[in-house]
Symmetry: C2
Subunit: 190 residues, 2 copies
DNA sequence: CAAAATAGTTGAACTAGGTCAAGAAGTGTC
DNA sequence: GACACTTCTTGACCTAGTTCAACTATTTTG
C-alpha cells in the first residue's frame, strides 16, 4: 500500500507500526469536481492522497476564490484547525481530478498516536515543514514579483504545471490570469 | 514565575509538571538592539519572553529587511526550522526593547517532552495556531489591501501600536513607510 | 460532430502602491 | 543647549499589476 511505502521512505517505522497505521485508515474515492470539504462544515478527516489532485481554497470578501494549495499523490491534506478543534471550516477542498484517498478521523488519529507515538512526532515535523513553506510563500508575496512567484511555483510543483489550467496557477500565485499570460509571453521571448 | 502562570492559563498541567518544566529553562537578558539570533547561525534556543519586545526578520534579495513577526510578553519565539533540524538560519531575531527571556535548547526540550508528554502536544497545538496565523497573513497579502492589513495589525497587536515606530509597522504589513503615513492620514479624515 | 462552455491572449485605460527628494518634528546624547 | 540621528509627512512622478472587453483556441457534452 502506498501509505506504508511513503512512511518507510520518510521515517524509521517498524513493520508492526506500519501495519497498525495502515489499518487505521480507510479508502475513499472522489470524482472530479466533488468536494472533500465545504465551508461551514467541520473537517472530519485527515486525507492522504494516493492518486489524483485536489485544491484547497477559500472565498474572500469580494466573493473570489483564493487557492491556498494543491495536493497530489503522497500529500497530506486537511483543514487542521477545523479537524483538530472541531470548528467550522472556512475552507473548501475540491477534487480537480478523480482522486483516491486514505482517511482517518480525529479520535482514531489520537488513538493511533497512543499506539505509535513516533507518528505524533512525525506529524509535528510535517507541520513544521508546512509552516516553513507557508512562511516562504508569505515572504514571496511581500518581497518578490509575480514572475518570481511563478518561477517558484514551477520549481515547487514541477509535475503540476501541465495538470492544471493556467488560470488556477495564476490564482495560486496571486495574479490575474491575464497577467500570468503576459508573464509567460515575456518568458518565452527571453 | 511567569512561565508557570502562562502554562496554567493555557492548559491543564499539574504542579509537578509545571515545576519540571520551569526547572528546564534558564533566564537570559538582552539589551535593546542586541541579537538573539543572526543569519547563518544555528538557532540554539527556544525563547519564552517574560518582558520586552523582539522582532524576527530576514534580509531579502534586494538587501531590505522583511519583518516576519513581533513577540512580546508571554510569546514563544525561535526559528523552528533551524532549532529543530540544526540548520543554519536565514533569520535575525533582534531585541527592540531590553528583553528578559526563558530559554531551553533542543536536547533539553526533547528530554522535557519525555518527562512531560503533555508539553509536546501543547507545542504541536501552538505550532498549529501559529500556522493558522501565518495562513491568515498570507491570505491578506493575496486578497486584501494595505489598509485592511493595517487594520488587522491593530487588532492583532493592540498593545504594540505605541511601542513600535511606524516604519516598522509599515515593514510588517508590507508597505512603504510613506504609504502607511498616507493610509493613516486618510483614516483620520474618515 | 455541432453547440456550448471553458481557457487563453491581447490591447487600452486605470489604480494601488513604490520611489525619490526635501523638509519638519522628535529624540537622544555629550 | 546644540549636534546628530532617527522618524514622519508631503508632493511629484513612476510601475507592476488590475480590469474590462473583444477575440481566438480548446475542451466538454448532448
Amino acid at each position: 500500500m502506498t501509505l506504508s511505502n511513503y512512511l518507510k521512505e520518510k521515517a524509521a517505522f517498524t513493520n508492526d507500526e506500519l501495519k497498525i497505521i495502515s489499518d487505521s485508515f480507510s479508502e475513499v474515492s472522489f470524482e472530479k469536481k466533488s468536494m472533500l470539504l465545504e465551508e461551514g462544515n467541520i473537517c472530519r478527516h485527515l486525507f492522504f492522497i494516493t492518486s489524483g489532485l485536489v485544491k484547497t481554497y477559500f472565498i474572500d470578501r469580494n466573493g473570489h476564490e483564493v487557492i491556498i494549495n494543491f495536493a497530489s499523490e503522497n500529500w497530506w491534506i486537511t483543514d487542521i484547525h477545523s479537524f483538530e478543534e472541531n470548528k467550522a471550516s472556512r475552507l473548501y477542498i475540491e477534487a480537480m481530478e478523480d482522486t483516491e484517498c486514505l482517511v482517518i478521523n480525529v479520535q482514531d488519529q489520537y488513538a493511533l498516536f497512543d499506539k505509535v507515538p513516533k507518528l505524533e512526532r512525525f506529524f509535528r515535523m510535517l507541520l513544521q515543514k508546512h509552516t516553513g513553506a507557508l512562511q516562504d510563500r508569505l515572504f514571496e508575496h511581500i518581497a518578490a514579483t509575480a514572475e518570481d512567484r511563478y518561477d517558484t511555483f514551477l520549481e515547487r510543483y514541477p509535475n503540476l504545471q501541465n495538470r492544471l489550467p493556467q488560470h488556477q496557477i495564476a490564482n495560486y500565485i496571486g495574479v490575474s490570469p491575464e497577467f500570468l499570460s503576459r508573464i509567460r509571453k515575456r518568458k518565452v521571448k527571453g
